[in-house]
């Protein structure tokens, strides 16, 4: 809650974090603090480690056979890998949206209810679902068709449903892994305005290969290349005055 001039208190902290998959290094010695209430963008080339870093924050990497994590990740100061910390609890606090809409082949209602049902929060199911669908701007359009198959929605709406599914759990943090990569520009614009509206209410970490998207939405930017955190800082500084030559060449590459 410390929002003094010296910087907001971090929600998530990675300390000397390394991840490898079956011996192949995906992330190496990354130390990064994610301040509360900010939108932090993770940018960098393909295979740079953006998704791996995001998945370190909600312990999703451990579901990949052969994944080995070293280093520490803290959520509100608590090491999320320490014994006694339940992965499911971490994941409810640190929600995630994936690149492609990953809906369950069931009804709209069942999709949004999934996390609440899994954690036994079923008393206010309808209210929570209405709240989440309202937040993502889908409620007025689909309130009467909640029993329709989720996969029958348009791609952009499917992705917004994924946001709703995650938001229904009232997480503290939202990890967004290239949420617009599979969408056309109109749908992308709607998702971006949704993300913009969520800023402040949530701590958001957005992995994106869209440099303009990062510039438009984020306060802070971290540049990852080859599994290494090359540099991070205020978005404006990174984009206008990068310290590292690699960051500069990545950022200029696109506009050539």
């Amino acid at each position: 809650m410390n929002r003094s001039a010296s910087g907001r208190s971090p929600v998530l902290v990675a300390e000397d974090l390394s991840v490898s998959f079956a011996g192949k290094v995906a992330l190496e010695g990354v130390s990064l603090a994610i301040p509360r209430g900010c939108l932090t963008a993770l940018i960098g080339p393909e295979g740079g480690g953006k998704s791996t870093l995001l998945r370190s924050f909600n312990r999703l990497n451990e579901l990949t056979p052969g994944a080995v994590t070293a280093g520490i990740v803290r959520l509100n100061g608590v090491d999320i890998h320490q014994g006694g910390v339940d992965a499911a609890t971490v994941r409810r606090k640190v929600g995630m949206v994936f690149p492609e809409a990953t809906l369950f082949p069931r009804s709209i209602f069942d999709n949004v209810a999934f996390g609440l049902r899994a954690s036994g929060q079923v008393e206010e199911l309808h209210n929570r679902i209405e709240e989440a669908l309202t937040t993502v701007g889908l409620w007025s359009g689909i309130a009467d068709t909640l029993d329709a198959r989720a996969l029958s929605l348009a791609p952009g709406d499917r992705q917004r449903l994924c946001f709703a599914r995650t938001l229904a759990l009232r997480p503290e943090v939202l990890l967004l892994d290239e949420p617009t990569t599979a969408l056309d520009s109109a749908a992308t614009a709607r998702i971006e305005s949704l993300v913009h509206g969520l800023k402040g209410d949530y701590t958001i970490v957005l992995a994106t290969s869209g440099r303009r998207q990062a510039a438009r939405l984020s306060e802070l930017t971290a540049y990852l290349e080859g599994g290494e955190l090359v540099e991070h800082g205020p978005t404006e500084t990174i984009f206008t005055n990068p310290r590292d030559a690699r960051t500069e060449s990545y950022l200029t590459g696109r506009f050539r």
Binding site: N58, L60, P65, T102, F104, P105, A118, C162
Partner: protein, 281 residues
Amino acid sequence: MRAARDRDWLGGLSGAAAVLSGGAFLTLMGFLLIDALPALQLDFLLSPSTSRLPDGTGIGPAVVGSAWILLIAAALALPVGIGTAVYLEEYARRRRTATAVGRALDGLAAVPPVVHGVVGLAVFVRALGMGATILAGGCTLATLALPAVVSTAREALRSVSPEVRLAAYSLGATKWQVVRRELLPTAAPSLVAGSCLTLSRAIGEAAPLLVLGAVSFITFVPAAPGDPLVSLPTQVFAWTTRAHADFAALAAAASVALLAAMVGLRLAGAVLGRALQRSAR
């Protein structure tokens, strides 16, 4: 050009192979039916006893015996096999465990059916004191079917999109919730179809049941797993070893019944699988 012509060649060749194997099957069925015709009558199917004389004998006990064996094998192999697959795919955190169990199953799959009979004789019939019963037959065929059940189940579980699986975990679901709410329902259509296919193969096996000591002459329809081991494939075998010409027709007729049961089981699996798939959409 070259590649295209090669493809034409290959296409022609595999087309010919398909016609050939289809033809072989139809010819086989034709001969079988011609042989079976004199014996294929209702009282043959329903007859409560298989006697030493061709007249008045039937496959009633063998049909019921095979049905029992199928039920027992399914009741054992399906839960154990699907459970093993779920464990290997979802729980075995250390790769080595999964690899070791996988290797063991591969080994089991390579064991010839007759050897399953030998092991079944030692373990179920003798050591566990079941005797040459339907129960021992069901247990033996369960071990025979197990590797295939595990591998079809693993395949079915892997067909669940990894993204959807991760999404379920990311919403705070536990392993068991992901397995029960996502993996099993999504895999159910191929699980059902694959299991029926595997079981249909198993109930067609004569060799292991012969080794266990299947009987070919019985005067009553088995009513419990503890009754003597009778089955369709062993009945077919028994009749083929008899000299009298009438027995050839009986063997053919019993073969037709066995094939019908196997094809029926497969079809049922395929239809049920497709129905499940449609209801999941």
